[in-house]
Symmetry: C2
Subunit: 346 residues, 2 copies
């Protein structure tokens, strides 16, 4: 499962307008992307190759990754139009990973709509996904010649990272000895590198020095890890009314989250046996299982560990941010954005 | 099924050495590729992502596509070393298409070895294939800056073409109204554009003018179509001892080849009913079916039609060749190569 990137829009945008009059609001950038996505054109033939691409792109999502790319360009004084095609490349690439991940996860739904391999068939989802990756490259190439190689290098590394993350995540399902460092590396690859990559590409298009683009990339990558850890916490401790999905879903599916890995590391003797039994034994009803596992988490303080880890990565993100050569109000914009991400309740 | 590119090595190489002393023999170029493929290095972790890539690349093949890329570079006076990474890109890309095609075709074997999705599993084959496509881009980018955009544009078009060809081929399996023009377009996309693309990239690296690179690309594309038509003919009329695979395999699997499409177009009344019955009715034993369908082909002269079409594309290839601005002995080298391809018996 790829985490959905949402954040508390109201808080953030209200703050942003106080500090920056020139900078574009994130919602506006998301809107620019949404409009541009609807205008993306693909051949009509063969229909089964291109219809699924239009379909998956049409079923939405927050367009956060490409909006961040535009935001990075804007932050460094670039024209948002110059970054639009690469931003769309990131969105097309992201949706390619969703199309293939959904096959691998055997997922029937994506954002409440039928997945491509279910609506058409698996072969269609494999091949349309392949073409999306190529279309991603075509869009990413729409940059000035002087930036072409540098930006494609970043894109290549990002793309390989995401695939590695997905592979490691699949391997975790078969393993019972995953340790925290491995988990952090997996979420870094699967979720965070694409945020870092998008920010770096946008920054370079906006005219940033390489050093600053790399610091912004670090900011995004650390923030992405913090965000995923927050997601792990919210799955168990989120307000059911605000979380938007089933609380305890990760527990029910035995998903190796930070909380579970930490609990498996800390639990001793009887508690360890009880936890293992909850994971293996199929006799437990869902509500009962969620409650029992949560009780173990509480007794071991794993929420505290997770929040400390989350704060540690948020701090790393802010530290990278401090070092970027940007005016204070621009940095404040990014700080507000990060705060908006981290105070979310869904 | 992607056609295996083989040709009568002995005839060709003997002729080649007569005409060109400076030019590298095709077998030598194939050997350069084979050596370089074994030296390609990939990360060791995650193993299930990279092991299948090493595996599929290790099980061989003629390395014809990348060798043609090197040959094109050599023809125009370029250094073969400068074209080596892009040539490997073509080979990695080709093997990516095989890995994904094998899933789609549910094929248990590839070149006599277990396919990746059978040896590991389907998810591994999807994701390793994805990474191969990205690795293909990384290798293709190892060209001079002045050629980077042009070469990646060709690569993008080639890659999209191959995917379109595969999709159209899959759709053909469900259709009974395929006409010859559609079939030619399908084999052009699925088999021929990658030959044209490889030659064009090699020519540009070798210093060819764009016009000459395009003519060489046309040569390769037309020759690729002729080659596939030859393959269709050999499936039915090849010498069983030399063909190397089961004669009539396409007939047994109802594959829509040039011969079958033409026969369906020409057959009238009772013969049409008989042919349809042979395709639909499962009561026929393989040998009986091959003989009966071949008899219908013979009565309708479809072999003649196929050979005429093949000759037509071979002529187009030679016409493009004539217009290329290259010394006569270099053109002769290409003519001999083409003749070697077309006189094959396997």
């Amino acid at each position: 499962m790829v985490v959905s990137l949402t954040f508390t829009t109201l808080t953030t945008s209200a703050t942003l307008t106080t500090f920056t009059t020139k900078m574009k609001k994130l919602e506006d950038l998301q809107q620019i992307i949404s409009n541009a996505v609807t205008k993306l054109s693909f051949p009509t033939h063969p229909a089964e190759l291109y219809e699924p691409i239009k379909y998956i792109l049409s079923i939405g999502g927050k367009r956060m990754r490409p909006a961040l790319l535009l935001m990075a360009c804007d932050l460094f004084g670039g024209k948002v139009e110059d970054a639009l095609s690469p931003a769309l490349a990131i969105e097309v690439f992201h949706n390619f990973t969703l199309m293939h991940d959904d096959i691998m996860d055997n997922a029937p739904l994506r954002r409440g709509r039928t997945t491509v391999h279910e609506r058409w068939n698996q072969n269609v989802a494999i091949l349309s996904g392949d073409v999306m990756l190529i279309e991603g490259y075509k869009l990413m190439m729409q940059v000035e010649n002087r930036l072409l190689r540098q930006i494609l290098d970043i894109f290549n590394n990002t793309a390989v990272g995401v695939c590695e993350g997905q592979q490691i995540d699949m391997e975790f399902e078969q393993r019972n000895d995953v340790v925290i460092d491995e988990y952090i590396n997996m979420i870094r690859l699967k979720t965070a590198v694409v945020l870092g990559g998008a920010l770096k590409i946008g920054a370079l298009i906006g005219g940033a020095e390489l050093k600053d683009a790399e610091l912004l990339s670090d900011f995004g990558e650390h923030l992405g890890i913090a965000f995923q850890l927050q997601d792990d916490i919210l799955d168990v401790y989120g307000d059911p009314e605000k979380f938007g999905k089933l609380v305890g879903g990760d527990i029910i599916s035995n998903k190796k989250t930070y909380l579970l890995i930490k609990a498996l590391e800390l639990a001793k003797d009887e508690k360890a046996l009880e936890l293992t039994d909850l994971l293996i034994n199929k006799k437990f009803e869902n509500t009962e299982k969620v409650k029992a596992v949560t009780d173990i988490y509480n007794s071991l303080d794993v929420r505290q560990y997770a929040e400390t880890a989350m704060q540690c990565y948020a701090d790393k993100a802010f530290k990278a941010l401090d070092e970027i050569n940007l005016p204070d109000d621009h940095k404040q914009y990014l700080r507000d954005f990060a705060d908006g991400l981290m105070v979310r309740e869904n």
